[in-house]
Every structure is written in C-alpha cells, then in structure tokens.
Amino acid sequence: MWPELRAGLSGWLSPSRTIWLIGAFLAQFYCAPARANAPLNYLFGAGPRNVSTLTWGVLTISIIVVVIVTGLLLFATLKSWNRPASPAWKERELVPRATNPVAVVYAGLILSTAVLLGVTIWTMMTLADVAAPPSKPTVSIEVTGHEWWWEIKYLSSDPSQIFTTANEIHIPVGKPVAVRLQSADVIHSFWVPALSGKTDLIPGQINKTWILADRPGTFRGQCAEYCGLQHAHMGLKIIATSKNDFEAWRKNQLQSESEKSIGSAGQNVFMQKCAVCHTVRGTRAGGRVGPDLTHLMTRTTIAAGTLPNRPGYLSGWIADPQHVKPGSKMPRLQIDGQQLAEVRTYLEALN
C-alpha cells in the first residue's frame, strides 16, 4: 500500500503545486495578525513607524527564506522520489566525491551574508532613529514597578504640579513623553506594544525611555518580565487624548480629595481597614504600599488592568482580592457586608 500511496502522492504533488500550497499555508499565518482583534498586537501600532517597517521587513524576509528553502528541499527530495525501489544496499552505487557542488554552499554563503549585512545596516539606522525622541518631551513621568501594579508619578520642576496615580497613564497625542523607570521590588518590564518596545524596570537603577502616540486612543500595556505569582495580571493602560483633554485630566488629578465625605461611615471603614496601604490625598490615609486611590473613579480598570472599574467588580475585589489575584499583596480583609457597602460608597465618590 505504501508504494502506491507514495506514487499517487508524488504524482499529485508537482513541485509548482507544492510551492503554491506551502505559500497559501504560510499566507494564512501572515494574515492572521491583521484579522485578529488583540489589544497587545504591535504590528499595527501607533508608535514610531520605522520600527513597524523594520518588523514587517524582517518578517517578510524570514517568510521568503522559509519558502525558498522549503522549496529547494522539496525539489531536491522529489527529484529522487519516483526512483524505482532501491536494490540491496551492497549493490547500490555511491555518488563519487568528485561530484561536489561546493559552489552551491558558497552561493548560499554569499547570498545570506548580503541579506544579513543589509539587515544589520537597516537595524543600525532604525536604532539610531529611535534612540532619542523626535522632539523634546513636554511631559515627564516616573513609573515604578510593584508586585503587581504600576505606580505612575507625573514629574515637574514645580512641586505643586507633581501627582501620583496608578496603572493608567494619560498622555497628549503627538507629543513625546519621557518615561523614567524604576522598581520597588523585582525586575518588571514596561511594555505598551502599540507605542513602543520593552524597557525593564530594574531595582537599583533608573532606565529611561519615551513614548509617543500619533493618534488618540487607549493602548494596553503589560508587564513583560516574569515577576512572580501575578505576572499575568500586571496590565496598564495608556490613554492618549487631545492636549485640552489631557490638561483637564491633569488639573483634576492635582486636586486633593474634598473633605465632603469626612466622617462618613465609608470613610471611617476606609481609615480603619485600607489607609495603612493606600493614600487618599487630603485625608489621613497615607499608605504607600498599594496604589494611590485619590481619583480612583477616573480609572477604567482596577487591580492593574484585571477587572473593569464597575461597582460590582469593586465589591468583589475588596471582599476577596485573593480570589481574583491569588498571591496579591492585598490581603483578604475582615469586613462584613455592611462595611463593604459603605466603603464602596466612599470609593465611588473618589473622582
């Protein structure tokens, strides 16, 4: 059965048909990223164009190389495929060493060297282009990695203009933003695929990078260096808006929490249970272990991009953080249903 199958298959698989099939197969994969709806996709980003071009360039070269080599292999193999069944080993002749097409190896050597040198030069040019932002950044932020969330501090030479938030970064469209990166515990990596590649946050050193969004939108980011139990749930968001919207957001963030809810039941619960770790500016709550919650309700997600910031999820998270993010540094609090409702009401007023 085997020889017939083999003969049938090789008859059908003409070299050109084989190449076509392989091409079609690979094209499927090539198109998949374009079709997929994936927020961390970086092939269609809003960051520096030249990096995307280089990525598509090396990807295309790679696919061409795979197709050519697979084709060569199939040609080389199919050339002998229909030979009659082999006679006994001992009677088989050998191809003499004199038939030594070493020129093929040299040709491959020269061709691949040319391509590789070309890509090396292209890489160096792109690297030089993106080493510094295209213009002087007007906004500077400092990102501190924590297990497992992001502390975001907007820097300024004027101390009254400095404020801290978490997990969501607002930036003005079209303006480069300088980013200083540091870590409070282990190594993390700052990555917003649509806007830029990764830069690590390493304890004991400060790394610098920059981001630039060329269109408004919300861009998802993610910690990209394995950092322990909840590495999977360490997301962040970058929200690029017009300059006016950005300024409005910034002005609001600079406000301390009004004293309107002083003495509310929810605030009392918060001060007892939450204030050791969390800050709400303008109140006694000054903990630095967890995210600053002064303007919690201006954020779209909680627990570092893990849950939508909606009342139901907020209650679930406060009631049992270890269920959502096992190993999270936020403990399961001794809190009853009434206290939970009160503290949630308090949090919902933080905007």
């Binding site: 970086y42 292999l73 088989r92 282990v186 990209a224 999977a232």
Partner: protein, 648 residues
C-alpha cells in the same frame, strides 16, 4: 610485564577469523556479570546507552510538565493550576529540557559513538566517563526531589534576581535550583574534558584532523566551549547561594550589589549553551544524512569551520538576551550585529545539506524523514532568531510567545528532530536490531505535524502580544483560539513520541537483525559487529580518508584497513596517537571497572544534600568522604603504568 611493554611495537594482523584473539580481548574488556559489573562498569557503550535512556526519561518528565501547562492554557481563565504550581512547572520544564535533556542526550550519543567513530576502544578517561554519568543522574534526582516537598524552583530557568533572592523567595525552591545546577556542572565540565582528550589523542592511526568524522567536530567544539563557559555559571549559582544564606550582597541593589550582574554571568554561559546543545545535533545530521543520500557530505571543510565559527561567535552574543535592560545603544548595536552575523555559518551547514540531498540519491528511510523535517524547522527556528537579533524588533518580540516559539523550534527542531533521526540511524548499531520503518514514519508524521501545529501558532500569539510565563489570560486578549490549537498540537506531538517509544521497546525484542552495517554507511563504527563487542575493534583500524568503508566504491582506491591493524592484546589497552596527524604514539593502559566513580558521585550527592539542609557537620563528613575516595581513585597503579616496575 615491565615498562618495556609500553615501548613495544605491536604486531599488525588481520582481525577476521581469529576467535582466540576475540576471546582474549573479551576476557580483558567485558564487565563482570551481576550487580558489581552493573555498578562498576566503565564501558562507554553501556554508559552511552544509560545517558540516552536517562535523558529520554527527563524528556518525558519535562514533556509531562509541558502537557499539564498546555491544559491550563488551552482556554482563557482556566483554573487547573494555581499560579505557584504553574510557575514551578514552567521553571522545571525549562530546566529539565535545557539542562537535563538537551545536552545529556547528545552526550549519550557521543559517549556511545565517539570511540567507535574514532576507531579506539573506550573514552580516554573511562572512570571519569562513569563518574560524569552518575553525577548527571544524581543531580537530576536531587533536582526532582524538590517536587517531593512541593518546593520546586519557581523563578524561571534563568532565575533572575531579585525575584530569586531570599527576601522574595524564602523557601528551598531556589536552593534546589542553584545546587542542582552546580552539581550538574561538574558532570558537564568533566565530560567536556574527556571528549577533548578522546578526540584529540585516541583517533585511529591515519585519522588526521582533516579526516575527523564531522560528528566529532561538533562534539570537540562544544566540549571546549563547555569547559570554558560552565565554570563561570557555576560560580554565579554559588554566589546566588551565598547571597541567600550567608548575607553576601553580589546581587542585592540595596547594599551595592547588581541584579544585572546575574544576567551577565548567566547569559555569558547561557548563550554559548544554546549552541552547545545544538551543534552536536547538527553534526549528527551532517554525519548520517550523507549516508542516507549515498554520497560524502558536500563541503566537509566548510561545515567543520562553520561549526567552530558558530561556537566562537556564540561567546559574543549574550547581550541579545538583555536588549531591554537599558544598556547603552552602542553596546546594543555591537551585539545586534554579531547576533545577525552568527546566522552565516548556519547558512553554510544548511546549503551543504541541501546540496548533499540534491546531488545524492536519497533513500527515504525514517532517518531521512526526520532529517528533512529537521531542515524545515531548522530554517524556521533560524529566521525567528534572525528577527530577534535586530534590536528594535526584539524590543517588541522579547519575552513574548514569539520567543517561546523560537526556542522550541531551536530546541525541538534543531535538537529533537536530529536526535530522533540519529536514533533511527544508530539504534541498529546499539541494539543489533532494526527499528520498524512503518512505525517510524507514522511516528514522524505525528511528530512533524503535531510540532508545527503546536508551536507555529506561538509565533502568532507572540506577534499578538502574549507575554511568556503568564499562568492565564483573559478572553478579550484575542489569544484563545491560538492557544487551543497549540495545546492540541502538543498532544499530537506527544503521541508521536510515544509511537517511537513503542517502536523501540518492540524492536528490542522482535526487530529484524541488523548485521554490522545495515545502512551501508562509511565510518568505522559500522565495520564492527552490532552491537559491538566490549573491546569495539579486535585490531586497531587504520584510516586514510573520511569514508574508510566507501573508499573503493568512491573510486578512490581502498587505502584504509578497518579490519587490519595493531593487535593490542597484552591487557586492557588501546592506542594513543598524535594530535594533528594521528601517528601512533603510545599504547595506553585502560583502567578496570571500578566502584570509585559511583561512590564519589554518591559522596557528592551527600555533600549537596547537606548544603541543602545546612547540616554543616554532615557537610564536613561528606567532604572528607570525597577526599578519601578521590585519593583511592587516583592512587597510582602498576596495571595502568603509573608506577615503574612489574605489574604481575
């Protein structure tokens, strides 16, 4: 016997039809039956098979770990594993495959085949060979003991500090990692030394360096690299252990240490290691593919040079694992360039294989199937490596599933496909029986399809931004279908491997008898019986070309004489030759079977266990035991010519 015996000129005889010579040699070389012989043997063939079997067991363990992870990742938000369980599994999977499978399997083939390829009777240092095997085995047992107490390493195979520091990871997990790696490093380093001496000094007369089998070039190259690189990383593991238990601050930034120091020390070994675990596999393809294609390898010298060049360049690319750590652009540019250039020697090997197939008359054996599949995955693994070498591209690709796809195309593609082809090729030599070709081809298709269905989509999940080492993901990330496909593919791959396992077990009992040279191959191992006798060759063969068994039919005139040469029958002897030209130089007295290697590795295991338990008095006792056994092992013996005078 007197010392004059070592100066004698041995007689040259024909090996054929001399049963009394065979019996005499067997009396010197055969291990004693029973438990003692089993534990004390220094026969490279027994040890080679033990290496292969043990490494495949580790492949099985690492594979089971992978399959459990693939169940967890098959769907978004799965709860099969807790985050801690997942982290232990992916860490152990990486360590097991990269350290306890990938090199030991190649070492196994080399330990078995090198003396046969070279035409000598054992490795240069037979007791050291036994020792390195036992150390490999015990270090693996030591590592896996961590599972028994539920504290397997959990900081990834490259174990970045400060995540691996005592403050972040106070359990014994990381200590198992550090100590098991130091333990294994002893085996790998000494194994490298053994191969270097064997390949440089134990070749058959006439096997000058330009006649060295291409497979020996791979082993020689990576042995030198092992000796140069492993001690550095063993030191790094030791510094980590010191940081964790003695309050040193090598990696602690709070007190002036440097987390990046760990990354440099690790990758300074880690990248050469990637080449160490693939170059011998590539050279096995270069050795056996020409046999399938009925012709000598095209461009032997170029391939040999490419092998060495890859390894040399491999020491200059480690920074490409650290492109995102904030290093100066100038350093990135240099390492990016070298990382791209290193693809050139790989292209040489690739075109050499293609030309060999093109101008050959390939026989479509299972070995050929695996090698042809190997070439395709070799290229895919190569080009994905080429993409990550370009710094701005790598800033996106690094630490995503694209890199996971890349390392699997390299490790499964370059290593496992080559190893399986080699298994189908050399199994008849090792067992005396053929593997079944139909089962083999079925196994190949399961493995080839399962592998590509499983691992190709990882490239795309990577391009879609899926980070490595996440224990779960949410459905809106757009990775769900791809992950399901990957999980299905990995199970198909596992089935393919099981079919080969069934084939091996079945063929050991009912396989067709192979005879000395079932493939009509060209190198010396095929000139002796299958399996070879304990002394390998009745007389030391003489070699005059790279294909000693093909010379007459290649039209070059038969100048080598595989069955005629020096008869060394005055005890356990083999021939030492000169380094470049392989001119007969000395008669080497080989050691008898010995329990010392086993005992020394047990004492070492005790030492590492006491370090683990911080039982300092017991540690001192183990150290003394090590000293005593080492002295006993090295005590000069007359039978080895280490003392002048009579041996009788």
């Amino acid at each position: 016997m007197t010392e004059i015996e070592y100066d004698r000129v041995p007689k040259v005889v024909e090996a054929i039809g001399r049963p009394e010579l065979s019996a005499r040699l067997r009396s010197f070389w055969e291990s004693k039956p029973g438990l003692y012989g089993w534990l004390a043997t220094v026969d490279h063939k027994t040890l080679g098979i033990r290496y292969i079997v043990t490494a495949f067991i580790f492949l099985g363990l690492g594979g089971i770990e992978a399959l459990i992870m693939r169940i967890q990742l098959a769907q978004p938000n799965e709860h099969v594993l807790t985050p801690e369980e997942y982290n232990q599994l992916f860490t152990m999977h990486g360590i097991t495959m990269i350290l306890w499978y990938a090199l030991p399997i190649l070492t196994g083939f080399s330990v078995y085949l090198q003396p046969l390829l070279l035409g000598c009777r054992d490795m240069a240092l037979p007791r050291l060979n036994a020792f390195t095997y036992w150390v490999f085995l015990f270090s693996g047992v030591f590592l896996y003991a961590s599972f028994l107490i539920g504290a397997a390493p959990d900081a990834g195979w490259f174990n970045y500090v400060p995540l691996a520091s005592i403050e972040q990871d106070p359990g014994p997990n990381i200590d198992f990692y550090a100590l098991a790696n130091i333990f294994l490093g002893i085996s790998t380093t000494l194994g490298g030394v053994n191969f270097i001496v064997t390949i440089l000094r134990f070749r058959a007369p006439g096997m000058s360096i330009n006649h060295l089998p291409i497979m020996s070039w791979g082993t020689l190259t990576i042995s030198v690299a092992s000796v140069l690189s492993i001690p550095a990383v063993s030191l790094a593991f030791f510094l980590l252990w010191m940081d964790r238990h003695f309050g040193t601050h090598f990696f602690d930034p709070a007190t002036g240490g440097q987390p990046l120091l760990w990354q440099h020390l690790f990758w300074l070994w880690g990248h050469p290691w990637v080449y160490i675990i693939v170059l011998p596999a590539l050279s096995m393809v270069s050795q056996a593919l020409p046999v399938c294609c009925r012709r000598p390898l095209v461009g032997y010298s170029l391939v040999a040079l490419a092998t060495v060049l890859t390894m040399v360049l491999g020491f200059g690319v480690w920074l490409h694992h650290m492109f995102a750590t904030g290093l100066p652009t100038m350093a990135l540019a240099f390492f990016s360039a070298v990382s791209l250039i290193i693809a050139i020697p790989s292209a040489v090997s690739l075109f050499s294989w293609l030309a060999t197939i093109w101008t050959g008359r390939p026989d479509f054996t299972t070995t050929f199937y695996f090698f042809a599949g190997f070439i395709i995955v070799f290229v895919i693994g190569g080009v994905s490596g080429f993409m990550t070498a370009s710094v701005p591209v790598d800033w996106q690709l690094t630490d995503t599933y694209f890199v996971v796809a890349h390392i699997h195309y390299v490790l499964i593609g370059w290593n496992l496909f080559a190893v399986l082809g080699a298994l189908y090729h050399w199994f008849p030599k090792m067992s005396g029986r053929m593997l079944d070709e139909t089962l083999g081809k079925i196994s190949f298709w399961f493995i080839f399809i399962g592998f590509n269905v499983g691992f190709f989509p990882m490239h795309i999940s990577g391009l879609l931004g899926m980070p490595r080492r996440i224990y779960t993901y949410s459905p809106e990330m757009g990775w769900s279908t791809l992950n399901l496909i990957t999980s299905i593919g990995s199970f198909v791959l596992a089935i393919g491997l099981l079919i080969t396992l069934v084939n091996v077990v079945r063929s050991l009992r009912v396989g067709r008898i192979a005879g000395p040279n079932p493939w009509d191959a060209d190198t010396l191992e095929w000139s002796t019986s299958s399996p070879p006798p304990p002394y390998n060759f009745a007389v030391i063969p003489t070699v005059a070309s790279r294909s000693p068994l093909w010379e007459d039919r290649l039209g070059e005139g038969q100048k080598s004489s595989p069955a005629r040469g020096f008869v060394l029958d005055q005890g356990k002897e083999t021939l030492g030759t000169t380094m470049l030209d392989a001119v007969p130089d000395v008669i080497v007295k080989m050691p008898e079977d010995s329990l010392a290697p086993l005992l020394l590795s047990l004492a070492l295991a005790a030492l590492f266990t006491t370090m683990m338990l911080e039982a300092w008095w017991w540690l001192a006792a183990s150290a003394i035991a090590i000293l005593v056994i080492t002295v006993a092992w090295l005590w000069p013996r007359r039978s080895l010519g280490e003392i002048e005078g009579s041996t009788s």
